[in-house]
Symmetry: C2
Subunit: 573 residues, 2 copies
């Protein structure tokens, strides 16, 4: 990748012949290469660090007593999961010192392919953060999904050399790697010599070596130190994950500290962290502070959030404050406690960047396409013993239950214990619908539905009567996607998520408030308070996590990796 050559225009400022645009006067500057605090005036011009020494500037910022560190890097995240436009996430996290994001936009890609990816890049282009994309490798997640778009190697090739594309996104489909499945091989081949992200929970040592042999260079799925260490031994960069739900930092960092392992193979990421959690405890800044609290020297913890991921992703202008680096700067009141005074992106305070989310192309706001639908489509014929999904509170995995379901004349009748669940293909109006039974949800007198359903993002609806389920689906058809709560034949509340059926166009505070209100409604309708109804629902279609799932093609047994036998009249097919 050829980079822009700015030197001739910057040299006069570096030499001090002209006053630099911004000078951070009397600063201590953290050197990520040597771990030292260097003293001087840090001069920046056109958003680039040009020198440390004695400088005058057009604008001078007194940094007496302050320490400057490079903007932090989130080495892996999915921006769509916040339910808001990604630019809003950048603005929220920028205040906490994160200025670089390496995203895997695979939710958007599952709905709209590269158009979805391009929207995320476009929406974040003018935000106070560098946003890079790893092109999603597993869209759809499995071969038998009904998602919005198939991303093949040839679809990615035109984007391969885009300066904001760093490589291939997390390779979740490990079986395809092991079996050398041709379309996976094409994708891996296309990105040899670039970074390929992994997703390797609990592989055997030999499987992990195969994964490394295929050129997969990072992983963010370690939940134990032993697993993380094994990945580092194989030359992978370990992205220690600390998000809203998955919190692996304490375990891994404790292992690093106890073993004294060399840290250059370790970085931080959030994977999925909601804006409200960022606002409460910080973003990558939280990782830095927490790692230091657990015994990593602060200088090393900062390297893990700056230099290490920059090296792993080949970003030689980021994660450092040496001449030529981008002037993404976190000003600390105090180094040891990493207390943030202010944050600069390209030499300008992050608060001075206007928040102006991009309006997506119309097609990206019309992604819910259903075939004509009647209430009878929700009828479920059952036998003596049927398959049912068992919710496990606090977990994404489910139980595969075999039981006699409540019924009348062979037709399933939901009750306090058993709800009905349906998955409806929503991208291409194919009319595919599967209906099944779920226990542990506890909903009574209505239905809730969502167009967020990992990873294919079809419509999922759970309820205890077909009329409300149908109404909930029709409501999401009307709003172009979202969350909705229906009871007694009325829509009680809807959070519209018109952008790809995944994201709102409203501020995150509004969205958070709506989710909270609707969650409370669901609890009042009997939903087990141990589960988060919309998040639990959104994972019930993910056919790569045990044990039983539902997709528009039917109930899927993850353990045998096949669809459950359909009952005789095909109503579940």
């Amino acid at each position: 990748m050829r980079k822009e050559f700015r030197y001739p225009e910057l040299a006069p400022y570096a030499k001090g012949e002209k006053p630099a645009g911004v000078v951070f006067k009397h600063a201590k500057v953290f050197c990520v290469f040597t771990g030292e605090l260097l003293e001087g005036d840090l001069a920046c011009q056109d958003g680039i660090v040009v020198g440390l020494g004695s400088y005058t500037g057009e604008k001078e910022i007194d940094c007496t007593g302050k320490v400057l560190v490079p903007g932090l890097i989130d080495a892996h995240l999915h921006m769509e999961s916040t339910l808001v436009a990604p630019s809003r996430l950048i603005h929220a996290a920028a205040r906490f010192g994160t200025t670089t994001y390496i995203m895997d936009p695979h939710e958007a890609a599952n709905v709209a392919g590269m158009d979805g990816v391009s929207y995320l890049l476009e929406d974040t282009k003018d935000a106070p953060g560098n946003v890079f994309a790893m092109l999603p490798s597993c869209v759809p997640a499995t071969a038998f999904e009904d998602n919005g778009c198939v991303l093949r190697a040839e679809d990615m090739e035109p984007y391969r050399d885009d300066p904001r594309v760093l490589g291939l996104g997390e390779v979740m489909d490990f079986p395809s790697v092991v079996s050398c499945e041709p379309s996976m091989m094409e994708k891996l081949a296309l990105f040899q010599g670039r970074v390929i992200d992994g997703h390797a929970p609990s592989l055997t040592p030999k499987e992990l070596q195969l994964y490394a042999l295929a050129g997969i260079a990072t992983d963010h799925e370690s939940t134990t130190f032993a697993d993380a260490l094994e990945k580092a031994r194989n030359g992978m960069q370990v992205l220690i994950r600390e998000g809203s739900a998955a919190r692996n930092l304490d375990t891994i960092v404790r292992g690093l500290v106890e073993s004294g392992t060399e840290l250059s193979s370790f970085s931080f990421c959030t994977d999925d962290k909601h804006i409200e959690d960022i606002c409460r405890e910080g973003h990558i800044s939280y990782c830095v502070r927490r790692a230091a609290a657990l015994g990593i020297p602060m200088a090393k913890a900062i390297q893990m959030a700056t230099l290490h991921p920059a090296r792993a992703y080949g970003l030689s202008h980021l994660g450092r404050l040496s001449p030529g680096a981008q002037a993404d700067i976190v000003v600390l009141d105090d180094f040891d406690s990493f207390s943030i005074h202010s944050v600069y992106y390209r030499g300008k305070p992050v608060g001075e960047y206007p928040l102006c989310p991009v309006k997506p192309k119309d097609a990206l706001c019309r992604t819910v396409h259903l075939a004509p639908l009647e209430e009878s489509a929700f009828r479920l014929r059952v036998g003596e013993v049927s398959d049912g999904i068992g919710i496990v509170p606090g977990e994404i995995l489910t139980r595969h239950v075999r039981a006699r379901l409540p019924q009348q004349d062979g037709i399933f009748i939901p009750d306090a214990q058993w709800n009905k669940i349906a998955a409806l293909e929503r991208h291409h109006a194919t009319g595919k619908i599967a209906v099944g039974a779920v226990t542990g949800f506890g909903l009574r007198g209505g239905a809730i539905a969502s167009s967020v359903g990992h990873d294919s993002h079809n419509i999922l609806v759970v309820g205890d009567n077909d009329a409300d389920m149908l109404l909930a689906v029709r409501e999401l058809e009307r709003t172009g996607g979202g969350y909705t709560v229906v009871s007694g034949g009325q829509v009680r509340k809807t959070l519209a998520l018109p952008i790809l059926g995944l994201m709102s166009d409203r501020p995150h505070e509004e969205v958070d408030a709506a989710v909270k209100e609707m969650t409370q409604m669901a609890y009042r309708m009997g939903v087990d308070p141990g589960i988060s109804p919309f998040i639990t629902l959104s994972f019930l279609a993910l056919p790569v996590i045990p044990a039983l799932r539902i997709t528009p093609r039917g109930m899927f047994d993850v353990e045998t990796f096949s669809f459950c036998r359909e009952v005789e009249d095909g109503s579940a097919g």
Copy 2:
């Protein structure tokens, strides 16, 4: 750069479904990422590491009690300086564990441009080592040289994406960087995003920052720890140099040990190390052992010779023994003493690679082109006071002497104190010749001449009579370049260096013996035993090192950066 994707063909060997080509059984394998020694069988197929575990192989090598480390990397060197074909250097150093060479072929380029560079790449293609080129940035070294070829950015562009070209070679012309000289800017611009090597002895802190701002990412010219540290602070990779003449390792490593500086910005290089020195004390292996002896932990010293330079030059398949890495392996009898048992390149013992230097294209062996020349061309008219070069034993720099030279009728007559020296353009038969006086050489009764003359490699001849000087030059014209000793009207001995006028096509033992014999001859002819006559001669034309030099255009005052005033009849012009 797209890399070859070998995974599908290698996977069956990694899985153990097929016996791997070579398995290093019962080995301890040094992990450059974690610093650990991992135990198991290291399986290699088609020259690539495929796994560490329990493996059977077509060929099995018992490594009980042995430690495997990655092949070592020489991060910067000039191969032409050995006077032999570069493949011979690779073969000699391979036995000492070096398997990767990052060369700056600027001697060859000064004679024959990219054809010269291509010869070096071609000659080393099948040798037991990975040879990469940094394209020479300063050919010619200054704007007023008469070398064989000008390398402009546009000449390099077609080679920029060659898989064996990593970036731009050492940027020696610092003034052109500071002044934003256009042709230098074009070269730097062409290689933004690739590695650009530096050459920055004794720059001021501000100059060094400018250098880093221009994208220059490495340096091998540090002679003090303070200078090395300053470069690391600016984000440069410091290549600690330990060659035949320039030996900077002890000083820098002592500083690293005393200060406890983080080592990830430090690597090793030789720059120029003669084969006889390699055979005597080792190559990069010597750096590893010496650094360890000075207090760097052995694991870190090995990282400095493997992982660090591999990262700095973006060679993610080298400097490690993890799956997917090239099987360049040093087998140690003992880790702590780094005692080498055997060396493998692409999974095969280095001794099994045949030494078969490539025959250069005819044009590369006919690079000495002189205009018709008469003895009278060597006549030097002098005045009352003349400029003369003063040799400083043991140094490359010279003194600028102003003195009354021995003379008769205004014509210089060499004596015991003052020799005559001439520089003759030899690339394009322009007939340019400059004649001057030199003191401190001490040659009597003859002449010695060389076609190796940094950096433009014109012919240099020193002597005390015009007839022998002419004969010496004609002898080098006949042999297509070389070293020669002439006395009493007879050629006493010549070492032909027909390849570009820089390299012999004979084994290094023969070449070394010839140089030794001719050096003794020179001493017997009165040359000061404190100087190495051919090496001293070869540096007398280098117009970037103080104080006075001679080029075919005249005597050059490096301090004023201008040619000395010519005497009236123009014989020095």
